[in-house]
């Protein structure tokens, strides 16, 4: 039961982990608040959020077993 939160790049550096298992929260806004409360340094960086591998543009409902990824700015290529 819960949500898988994947952490990459700078975000993984801040949290010290690359995956978090958290209880179900209602939506991505709530997840943000929870993460930024636990890791205040996240407030100072830009990141986007993917739910089940799709980048979301606005607050999105979350369900049990969803995978959310916290994505700092990309720098591939």
């Amino acid at each position: 039961m819960g949500i898988n939160v994947l952490l990459f790049g700078q975000v993984a550096d801040i949290t010290g982990k690359d995956i978090l298992k958290i209880p179900v929260v209602k939506n991505t806004n709530e997840l943000n608040q929870l993460l930024e409360k636990t890791y205040p340094a996240l407030k100072s960086i830009k990141y986007s959020i993917a739910v089940n591998k799709k980048v979301i543009q606005e607050n999105t409902a979350l369900h049990n077993e969803d995978t959310v990824a916290i994505l700092p700015p990309f720098s591939g290529g």
Binding site: F8, G9, Q10, K53, A69, F74, S75, G76
Partner: protein, 147 residues
Amino acid sequence: MEQKKIHKVFIDGPINPGFIGEAIAKHSDKKNIGAHSIFLGQVRNDRIGENEVAAIEYTAYREMAEELFIEIREDAFKNFPIICMHIYHSLGRVNAGEISLFVFTSAIHRKDAIDACEAIVERIKKEVPVWGKEIFTNENSQWKINT
């Protein structure tokens, strides 16, 4: 059709120039091709203050990146009359002077190959969840920011 033969995009470490030559050679039996366009990203030894970049270490959200590479591929065939296309991207450490991205498009006419290649490179840079960590000669590091 070529469109269906999807190879692995991610390569461990740098992309070898010999591999690029071989990829080109493989197209000699596709005799309707008139033009190839190739983009290569090479790791720069940028200087940041006192530091010099010795290498970039790439990580990715692989599952999401692989879905995006398929989408980019499908869109390229939809948007441009190309005959084939290939993308290779490094993961792990790539030293300055080595190649980390290889985008290869082929078409009957040059404009289509060139336009498709450029569009694919822009989408990769903007949309694909890959991160480069610049490793300095003194072993310090910082996360790269694409311009």
